[in-house]
């Protein structure tokens, strides 16, 4: 939607959206300069849930940081677990048994589905549809029950270990996962697509809203579904393969429309692709140990290490610098939504308030991950 009126910068008022606001899903504050219902300037203000995880990483040993990783992106905690395990394994040169890699992929992808389901639910809530939230939670509950079986916790997992995973999966988990795949595939067409995706109100609400050009994505470093909704074929799992992802046959959904609808469709298709990955991983699952040989006290060689994983929100990077000691010397977390949100100000300019909130919902923000 183009700006139909000329914005008058002399008659503006400031609207504080947040830190407590139903649409920001957490404690994000956006300082909006408004002209009526049109946004003249949008300025996100961060840091309301900042916990200085990077300093905490320096204060403890490598293993002691593992529980912290789940507290950042609490919706896709296993990917953060995975990212941290990967970068430390890279630095310390730890081998991971194949079965553990498969289990990692299965659990991370299950968690990705849960994350996308919750995004879908929350996005619909932003758009005023309450019922889809409960339907999505019904499915998400099944995923969480499955993950609780293997990890022992429901949301903030601490499941990965350097050199493997904490616990092996059992037959019940495998059977439950297969049931879930069947169930989600059965429910997807009617409860998700017929009720919501094809709904004219939703289409009119998010189509052509929040256009992010591919160039903007590159300049702001947007990744994940935001970039893929703008026609950029970038997925860390494909571009910079890690773990056992190269062994699976899956597609990276890319949409060229650049609008909120495109981002919506990317995530809906990603759930289907994640189901495919899980299915293949369950079929190929090798036998063997789930924990490799790892020294009890890690002392990686001094040097600069970087490792990226694809979370539900984009590319998560760990920039780890070691000095040969027991603790990380420096850890920088490159969280995907931090970069994704930074383009909000530029894109939201000239939007209507309601559209800007729909656009914000389509970015899939998780505030603790932005603030770290």
């Amino acid at each position: 939607m183009t700006v139909p009126i000329h914005l008058r910068h002399d008659e503006t008022f400031v609207l504080n959206l947040g830190p407590q606001h139903p649409a920001t899903h957490g404690v994000l504050r956006v300082k909006l300069t408004m002209d009526g219902e049109y946004i003249v300037k949008a300025e996100p203000v961060l840091g309301y849930i900042h916990r200085m995880h990077e300093k905490l990483a320096e204060a403890g040993t490598f293993a002691q940081f593992m529980p912290n990783t789940a507290r950042m992106d609490y919706l896709h905690a296993l990917a953060f677990n995975h990212g941290w395990a990967l970068v430390v394994e890279k630095a310390a040169g730890i081998e991971v048994p194949e079965r553990a890699e498969y289990i990692r992929v299965i659990t991370v992808e299950l968690n990705r589905i849960a994350s996308h389901l919750l995004w879908w639910a929350a996005f619909l809530l932003d758009l005023g549809g309450f019922t889809p939230l409960l339907y999505a939670f019904d499915d998400r509950e099944k995923v969480i029950d499955l993950l609780e079986r293997v990890t022992g916790s429901r949301l903030t997992y601490c499941y990965m270990r350097f050199g493997g995973v904490y616990n092996d999966i059992d037959d019940e988990f495998i059977a439950g996962t297969r049931d879930f795949i069947k169930r989600l595939r059965g429910r997807m067409p009617s409860l998700y697509h017929d009720l919501v995706t094809h709904n004219i109100i939703l289409i009119k609400r998010i189509k052509d809203i929040g256009i992010i050009t591919p160039e903007q994505c590159r300049r702001y470093g947007a990744t994940g579904p935001v970039a893929r909704g703008s026609g950029i074929n970038y997925d860390v799992r494909k571009n910079e393969p890690y773990s056992v992802y190269p062994e699976f046959d899956f597609d990276v959904p890319v949409f060229d429309e650049c609008d909120s609808m495109a981002r919506y469709m990317v995530r809906m298709h990603e759930m289907e692709q994640s189901l495919r990955i899980i299915e293949q991983a369950l079929d190929k699952l090798p036998d063997g140990p789930v924990m490799g040989k790892a020294p009890k006290v890690l002392k990686p060689e001094a040097g600069y290490y970087y490792s990226a994983v694809e979370t539900a929100r984009g590319s998560l990077g760990h920039r780890l610098i070691c000095d040969g000691g027991k603790n990380p010397y420096k850890l920088k977390l490159r969280s995907p939504t931090f970069s994704n949100l930074s383009l909000y100000g530029e894109v939201a300019e000239g939007m209507l308030l309601a559209d800007a909130l729909a656009f914000m919902g389509s970015l899939d923000l998780v505030i603790p991950e932005i603030d770290r």
Binding site: P22, A23, E37, G128, G129, L134, N199, I201, R205
Partner: protein
Amino acid sequence: METSIWRALLYLVGIMAFAGLNAAYLGWCERKGAARIQRRIGPCEAGYAGLLQPLADGLKLMSKQLLVPDGVDGIIFRVAPVLAMIPAITSMVVIPFSENIGARAMELSVLLLFALASISMIAILLGGWASGNKYAVISAARSVSQNLAYEIPMLITVITVVLISGSLNLREIAIDQQGGFWHWNIFRLENGHFLTMWISFIIFFICSVAETNRAPFDMAEAESELVAGFMTEYGSMGFGLFMMGEYLNIVVGACLTATLFLGGWDCPFGKTPGVWWFLIKIYILIFTFIWIRWTYPRTQIYRLLNLSWKILIPFSLINLLITAALIKVF
């Protein structure tokens, strides 16, 4: 003379009781309905199946302090919730529940209803404006433009009904439709009105959803955008009155739809007309309101205005023309 005083008292009490019960228990119905749609069970703790929940909510709201924040326009702030409630109750006066039950059968009752309906819009405007809250002011402005846009197609469709029945009296309109569903305005066989009247009915129904600020047209209290819209600063019974006003407006809208299009108290099979048929009709309509609310996401303010100005108004005008032509031809 004495009998008419008793009659007036009886109707006063009756209408108040009907309004009060509806306002309280529609909240319960809404919560239960929403819960069933979402496969929950809804309120279940207070009384059997949560039937005492409205009472508990009412008690809680009444026992709270009526907070008037600093910097609001005190008088208007206090008056607005009352203003939201009064017109809704007053509207009940002219609604014919059956041939013999109805407080007042006025000649211009349709006009009176619409006049009263626009007062509740003013209540929202005043409430939002007096709050001095930016969200509330935006909500008030939205609500006014929305109600303006939807009153036009609503009135035009009502004119088609009035043309057919030849009266502005709701009771006369209902009596005109007696004798089975093929006499109801929506399916009226006579003069071939069924060709256009079902469209009128849909337009009227959409408009009444929009007029009562119900989802998917709840722009005024879009909670994910405007927090709670015009109600942001209200607490305790001020908030309670707004909520009750909203539910009463739904009841009035359903009554009006039932009377104008669905034959009022008439039985669909042409036998045993009576107040129960009227009640069945309005509660089916109210359930549809609830059903719609818990199915769709919210629309956007300009989409909503587009719907009114680009689709509903042209269609209702064409409908009006065809209806008038049909009456003239036959």
